[in-house]
Symmetry: C2
Subunit: 392 residues, 2 copies
């Protein structure tokens, strides 16, 4: 196994009405003037925003709001948020929403704390020395940003989507009320489940050593999300199923399911980032559209893990050669994606890139990872292009 | 499921030589003058203490030392540590050892920060408003104190053993190097494995609702510890097995394996606390000596959980009535305890209380829990006495 760091300091309150603890939590972590950052109008229409601001008003905590965070959150809004925070003397960020609002808020926090151009962090030019403290009220189980150290921002110029990870960006608190996810469209719920699973699968498919305990926890998480994703297709109002998915989402990306490995593969994410930058597709759907092609391209180089995945996660009978078992596991995962109405290729995702666009995505992807990346199999630009082509 | 809090902010560095990061970590969390608190001379004889103080010297961090923490750590040493810290202007505590040194250090931290008599917290008379910051270099995988909110102290007068839990007592960092546990006697290693498992089992045996994900993680952890505890009986120098056990120990008591339940049962711990207070037995061995009698006394009231435990953890075939399956699970656990040379009753533990002593333990246990406690089954003084008698 590899030496490892684990740091997941976010204070989580989980259950019904936990959003009403928001003022208490902001005060606990020293906030006095808050920027509430959110996405579209759904948090206003649902009444959530009013509950939050009523709670802040009652506690005498000052706040201003900034909406407009979109999936694949944009750098221009981050710049706007940074200026707003500086002008208004904001000392605490509250993201109300899913990964878009949280990631955008993290970027705002880096920008306010560190000065200079915040894109430098995402572009790999600088490291942050801190971040404004951040709290989260989660309305979408997916990215795990509420407990993770990462955020992903898209620069409009050139449509470049880049992630930045730092412990400074970990939320001080996360208020997780599964009920808040009940108004989501079924497609978004399924996208979230796919995203959650992929955070663990990226860590699971590694060519290096692992911990038995981490593997067993990862497999338990994947099976639990699959079971409950299928429940939610039929019964979207199931509180229990939404609770399982919500907690799995937080654990899937807080480091627990990769503890003791080399960090994982992450190439499905990198390949999807270029798709997401170009087409503004839902992240979870972009991942499932790519995963099967990636898996078929790399599984021979990571056969023990793909075989184990097939048997322990997908329930494939351990009969036949390792390759046969591994392939059955990949097929079973794609079948699951179809059952929760997720795409398994770009056509099903609804995009149809030209050959030149595929080449451009492969070129940008290779640049983004510094030439080559991948633990299940090291991929270079030509490999990336081959996977994009296979996913058409 | 129940509403739940999860807060495990301890920064963990895991792997070989992580103890050499101690100065960097103390500085990160603002320490300038450190009390190094430890147990016996083993950390000195092994050379660990010299590596630690060399690292602090090189970084220019001032420190003093206080040894003498013993299993079932004593209140008198805590008082001594509090006076020492006040006199020397200590602003950071570094526990080097296992649960005894960590728990004793936590108590010192509460005493210094809050003033007054620190026993008040353990006696339920006051709540702490803070704690000196604490770091840990772990040399024994067992209590999970390195990530938990709890500590247990024994007051010599009346031999009263009491726990106190507070988020303020959570360590800022924990340096986990599995190699540091290799010099332990085999009996201590096995006691640690038993303690680790019991932290999850206390949470697992509940009469209330649970999360599927938590159950699956708990079962994965228990199976992993069992596998590796048996490896360590035969191959005590296995780094990988020690790594599995060490990380399981931290996760077992940081809240993860109880997330979404009512908090668990904890009566095996409470019954053992009275034993440990009177006889100074190793905590893990005290737990295994009590558990079987507790389990047989309560399993009918918590049958679905005991049945599930038998099948998913102990690998019992799901044939027969639920009661038969549950009993087979209890027997299989006792057989496992014997395989790692742990006692399954008080005689094997090496103590032989009189009937009056049993009654006295039951009386003190009932007082300690405020009359009655238990989620698998609510136990009162008469129940406690019955379990003590059955464990003879």
């Amino acid at each position: 196994m590899f030496p490892f760091k684990y740091y997941a300091p976010t204070k989580v309150l989980f259950g019904r009405d936990t959003e009403l603890k928001v003022a208490e939590m902001i005060r606990l972590f020293g906030g006095t003037k808050v920027l509430i950052h959110y996405g579209g109008g759904s948090v206003i229409r649902s009444g959530l925003m009013k509950r939050v601001t009523d709670t802040l008003d009652a506690a005498g905590i000052a706040y201003i709001s900034l909406g407009g965070a979109v999936p694949n959150p944009r750098l221009s809004l981050v710049y706007e948020g940074i200026e707003l925070c500086k002008r208004e003397g904001i000392d605490f960020l509250l993201a109300v929403g899913g990964g878009s609002a949280i990631d955008s808020a993290k970027a705002i926090g880096y920008g306010v704390y560190n000065g200079g151009d915040v894109w430098d962090f995402y572009d790999g030019k600088r490291k942050a020395a801190g971040c404004l403290p951040l709290g989260v009220i989660l309305t979408l189980s997916a990215t795990g940003s509420e407990m993770s150290d990462s955020s992903v921002i898209t620069k409009e110029e050139g449509l470049i989507k880049r992630g930045y990870s730092s412990d400074y960006g970990r939320a001080k608190f996360a208020l997780l009320n599964p009920e808040l996810t009940m108004t989501l469209p079924d497609y978004q719920t399924a996208c979230g489940c796919a995203d959650i699973m992929m955070h663990t699968m990226e860590r699971y498919f590694t060519g290096g050593a692992t911990l038995q305990l981490t593997d067993a926890i990862a497999e338990a998480l994947l099976r639990t999300v699959m079971t409950n994703a299928e429940i939610l297709v039929k019964d979207p109002k199931s509180y229990d199923a939404r609770a399982e998915v919500m907690w799995a989402g937080s654990l899937s990306h807080n480091g627990l399911t990769g503890f003791g490995s080399d960090g994982g593969d992450w190439m499905t994410h990198k390949l999807e980032h270029e798709l997401g930058g170009l087409y503004d597709v839902a992240h979870g759907a972009g991942l499932t559209a790519i995963w099967g092609s990636w898996a078929r391209y790399v599984y021979r180089d990571c056969l023990p893990r793909f075989r184990r995945f097939a048997v322990n996660v997908m329930g494939v009978e351990a009969v036949g050669t390792d390759e046969e078992i591994a392939l059955k596991g990949i097929e079973a995962m794609e079948a699951f994606y179809r059952r929760i109405h997720m795409p398994t290729n770009l056509r099903e995702l609804g995009v149809n890139p030209t050959e030149d666009e595929l080449k451009e995505m492969a070129r940008k992807c290779a640049i983004g990872v510094g030439g080559a990346k991948g633990s299940a199999r090291l991929l270079r630009e030509a490999d990336m292009l081959a996977i994009y082509r296979a996913s058409m």
